[in-house]
Symmetry: D2
Subunit: 139 residues, 4 copies
Amino acid sequence: MRVAAMVRVLVMRCMLHASLPRFHTFRAIPPEGIRCTSEGYGKGRVVVGYSDNKETILKRLRRAEGQVRGIQRMVEEDTYCIDVLTQVSAATKALENVALALLDDHLGHCVAEASAQGGPVADEKIREASAAIARLVRS
Amino acid sequence: MRVAAMVRVLVMRCMLHASLPRFHTFRAIPPEGIRCTSEGYGKGRVVVGYSDNKETILKRLRRAEGQVRGIQRMVEEDTYCIDVLTQVSAATKALENVALALLDDHLGHCVAEASAQGGPVADEKIREASAAIARLVRS
Amino acid sequence: MRVAAMVRVLVMRCMLHASLPRFHTFRAIPPEGIRCTSEGYGKGRVVVGYSDNKETILKRLRRAEGQVRGIQRMVEEDTYCIDVLTQVSAATKALENVALALLDDHLGHCVAEASAQGGPVADEKIREASAAIARLVRS
Amino acid sequence: MRVAAMVRVLVMRCMLHASLPRFHTFRAIPPEGIRCTSEGYGKGRVVVGYSDNKETILKRLRRAEGQVRGIQRMVEEDTYCIDVLTQVSAATKALENVALALLDDHLGHCVAEASAQGGPVADEKIREASAAIARLVRS
């Protein structure tokens, strides 16, 4: 009896120990597998790294679009070169900040979850992220 | 009579000589003064550094605007982060190229003409251009 | 006796199960914990993300140092501005590439391993990496 | 006689008028011609755009060299990746600032003087400067 109880406790602790990393420390890996694949997974909703910040990112992109439209108006009205340039720099910076936000979400979700699973998928995600960072730094 | 004719010829040549640098070697400084001032000059048309390339620049800006709108659609459709990032880098690069084209026109016209006139206006134009370049490099 | 054996088997399986993610799917987390902490861990050798590429990175840095020294010589010898500028751009690019290589190693080891462990350490690593990327993009 | 005197006066005024822009409004073009050519001019000292700021630029370059050497030490001592990255970004920024200073001097002297003289040399200087700016923005 005491042994059976001990076994139960041990098994519970082991299971707890085994399961903890999966359901507690890793962030929300869906049961279907890793989210943030290029193809999506499963039937329904695709979950991407920026899902939680989608509205903020769309708002920033709309603002950047407005900036670019504003620059067109400036050019049409023969605004002084330097004033146009200042706005182009501002729009460029706005887009770069969108990229940094997307990258942060991608690292914090897609790369983190792939890393938690390990294996070639994780390696591929790191390679992909590094290439995106290089494109951003060089653009 | 011969002397008067000679005077006329000499005066013509002198005037030609005097005017040559203004209308030949310097590029097209308008009689009202330097073009490309922030306030514009005179009643009519303002001439800016990018006047000759206005249509090209507008076309590029419209394309950049389209790219930013395309990125919004990608985000709305939950496109994979890395694919969104690639497009943001492309749009950033497109805007940077617009800035480089504007800067080239500005240096080739506004700064060149101010330099030809010299004085504090020229110094101010150089300072202004350098500041714009710094903003661009740091954005 | 049979119960004790069963317990042992169960405990072994649980431990195996619990340990598997640590030694199999995650890449090489040392028994002392995550490597790549700012303080280092343990008595002996600190393992950093770029450990495997240390020599390559040192070689690139030495070359960049040589480039900067070469630029000094150019300036001392009154080399034409544009030629000096070309070399400064090259040295800047070389340093940026070192940064991209370091970042790739950091993501592939430090961030990946922290993500595999999850929890606040993982979040902190992501935040830190994002800040470093932002500094790089804006420099 | 009176006519000949008048002719002389006119010719003098014309010559004065023609020469004024050259020796008055343009800044300090040396009698040998434009300074800041890739080949130098004349026998003696070559004058480059950054001549007046040579010591400042050399000091900045020496500091940048020291930074790059410091980064090597950090790597040799297995300093945490992010701390190394922070220093690489700082060194990159330092080099970029040297480039911006060189460019400012180049625009303010070499390009300004070439523009004052006009003609194909001026066009070439602008083209060259634009290309250097593009390299800088893209590095």
